[in-house]
């Protein structure tokens, strides 16, 4: 068993790989949410998780290539903006459907199939 200081050192010695693991875990959670959840708003939240996991990958990439590399940061700002715009349109569409069905469950939106 190492001393607390050593343990703290290993803990703080975070490499890009650690970021990638976190990002993939978040991505998997988000994708599972999109595929499993039936509530449209929860699906939207899963999508947001997936977008943010990509942000982590981008930032990890930017960090590992040195701080003068700015394109990662620029990309992330665009992704955040687009995620906000997408959420607004998505919530508006969900609201329009809610007015008709009084429900936001994706199973109910089945007027058209086959």
């Amino acid at each position: 068993m190492s001393s607390p200081t050593e343990f703290l050192d290993t803990l703080l010695n975070i490499t890009p790989t650690h970021y990638l693991v976190v990002a993939f875990a978040l991505f998997a959670i988000g994708l599972a949410g999109v595929l499993i959840r039936r509530n449209a708003i929860l699906i939207l939240m899963g999508i947001e998780l997936m977008l943010n996991s990509s942000n982590i990958v981008l930032l990890a990439a930017g960090r590992s290539f040195g701080l003068q590399e700015q394109s990662a940061g620029v990309f992330v700002v665009f992704v955040i903006t687009i995620a906000a715009a997408e959420a607004i349109v998505g919530l508006a569409l969900i609201l329009a459907c809610y007015r008709k069905w009084r429900d936001v469950s994706a199973d109910r939106f089945n007027l058209m199939k086959w």
């Binding site: 981008l58 665009f78 349109v89 998505g90 569409l93 329009a96 007015r99 007027l111």
Partner: protein
């Protein structure tokens, strides 16, 4: 860092955005007094944008730190997008259910979508590519759900949104991984070089490309992310269904073509797996589109499945284009993609335009609304027959030329399996379209009369344009083929 911007290159897109803003502002200021002004404004904007586009010259140019480019193929795709947008604006004028909703915003949003698709075609940078794809998607969600008091339109918009947002989030993960492994490069050709040079494990690149493929498959509406296509086409306003089936897909195809050229250099290790993935997608699209399409009782849904099948054909051209490269104008795969896209624009928009008119006249899109149409509306029935036979690939229409070129390219490049599936599905698809003809020409018309409402002139203009393109290029395809070869000749310059 000072970035030089060549505003001339960006001018068509900026014109479209400016035109949309002008339409919004005019509507805000004048309200109902200017309610007929939006269509002329939009048409003027499109005309100016096309004029600016054609005055750019045919040579390759790029600007904004090499992130935005034009070349012959980009101009070709943009002209297709603008022409599709123009026809759709004419159609929207004749679409009755829409008249209860604010039309100027609708027109403005269509212009914004056209500009976003134009950016998609021209982007050479990962960030610009992602932003423009999302720009086009978000505007399309709004347009699909535009008739918000109509249950089907709201449902169509929501389904389109859920499919689109989740698959584009997956695609973003693919982009992020590519960005990571290529060492922080966002310029697409440089990224393709970096992918080869950095000696990355092929499995990793396959995963990243698979994620990107999910997003693009949604964008062009190919299997496996085809689930939204029938529902969205059926529920969305008919002009928007036509818009999504042509302009949006053309932009997606252009992006796919660029990605295979830039990110998959010939020496790339994943050429084989990638060809297999695309071949599976192409075959599945063609088979599913035709077989399930036969079962449809709703014309818009039937056209949606036919659109899935047609995307399969375009994918054959793309597969050939990425495997057999000659670096000259005789690059059959890519030439066939361009020809197919141009032909598909006219025949598919024509079919949608007629379905739109018949929907206005009979009040529905179900197959039973078409019973005995030939005796009651002979002109519309005949025109629909022409466009459906063109979609089936019967000469002397442009549909035959398009299918012929794609299949010839596949056979020449030894993709026999793809060609066989293509030929078989086009035989089956003839049955799909002939079913509608049988209902129109053989069945007895129902007792009740159709209220004969006048069909607005813009709709006739749209149909005339589509008919001209379908028949003229079917009988005399020389100029189209020459133009496509001319455009492909430079596609490798960067």
């Amino acid at each position: 860092m000072k970035i030089d911007i060549n505003w001339a290159l960006l001018s068509p897109e900026l014109t479209l955005i400016g035109g949309a803003l002008v339409i919004f502002i005019v509507d805000l200021i004048f309200r109902r007094r200017a309610r007929y002004l939006h269509l002329p404004l939009a048409i003027i904007t499109l005309a100016v944008a096309s004029w600016l586009l054609s005055s750019l010259g045919w040579n390759y140019q790029s600007t904004v730190a090499d992130s935005f480019f034009t070349d012959r193929a980009a101009i070709f795709f943009k002209l297709i997008v603008y022409l599709g947008t123009f026809i759709i604006l004419l159609l929207a004028e004749g679409y009755r259910p829409l008249s209860r909703y604010p039309l100027p915003e609708f027109t403005g949003l269509i212009l914004l979508a056209a500009s976003a698709m134009s950016f998609m075609v021209s982007s050479k940078d990962l960030i610009l590519l992602y932003v423009s794809i999302e720009f086009a998607s978000i505007v399309s969600y709004i347009l699909a759900g535009y008739m918000r008091d109509n249950v089907e339109s709201a449902e169509a918009g929501l389904k389109y949104f859920l499919f689109g947002a989740s698959s584009s989030a997956v695609m973003l993960m693919g982009f992020a991984l590519l960005f990571y492994v290529s060492g922080g490069v966002t310029n697409l050709p440089a990224m393709g070089q970096a992918l080869v040079e950095n000696n990355i494990h092929p499995a990793f690149i396959i995963i990243a490309f698979g994620l990107v493929a999910v997003g693009l498959s949604y964008k062009v509406g190919a299997v496996p992310i085809h689930g939204w296509v029938p529902d969205t086409y059926q529920g969305a306003p008919t002009p928007i269904a036509a818009f999504l089936s042509v302009s949006s897909k053309v932009a997606g195809i252009a992006v796919l073509l660029r990605i295979i050229i830039w990110l998959l250099p010939q020496e790339s290790a994943i050429m084989g797996p990638w060809t297999m993935i695309l071949s599976f997608s192409a075959m599945a699209s063609m088979i599913l589109g035709t077989t399930v399409g036969i079962l449809q009782m709703n014309l818009k849904r039937l056209l949606a499945y036919s659109a899935i099948a047609h995307i399969g054909f375009v994918l054959i051209g793309i597969i050939v284009g990425m495997n057999y490269v000659t670096y000259t104008g005789n690059d059959f795969g890519k030439v066939s993609v361009l020809i197919y896209v141009a032909g598909y624009l006219f025949m598919n928009l024509g079919a949608f335009a007629i379905v739109n008119m018949i929907g206005n006249a009979t009040g529905g899109y179900e197959l039973h609304h078409y019973r005995g149409l030939a005796s009651r509306k002979p002109v519309l029935a005949l025109l629909l027959a022409v466009f459906l036979l063109a979609l089936a690939g019967i000469p002397p229409t442009v549909g035959f030329i398009a299918k012929f070129y794609v299949l010839a390219a596949a056979i020449k490049a030894d993709f026999i399996a793809l060609a066989v599936v293509g030929i078989l599905t086009s035989v089956v698809s003839l049955f799909l379209y002939a079913r509608v003809l049988k209902v129109m020409y053989m069945d007895k018309p129902p007792k009740e009369e159709i209220p004969s409402k006048p069909i607005p002139a813009p709709s006739w203009a749209a149909v005339g344009l589509c008919l001209l393109g379908t028949l003229l290029w079917g009988i005399y395809p020389g100029p189209l083929i020459h133009f496509a070869k001319f455009c492909v000749k430079q596609i490798w310059l960067q």
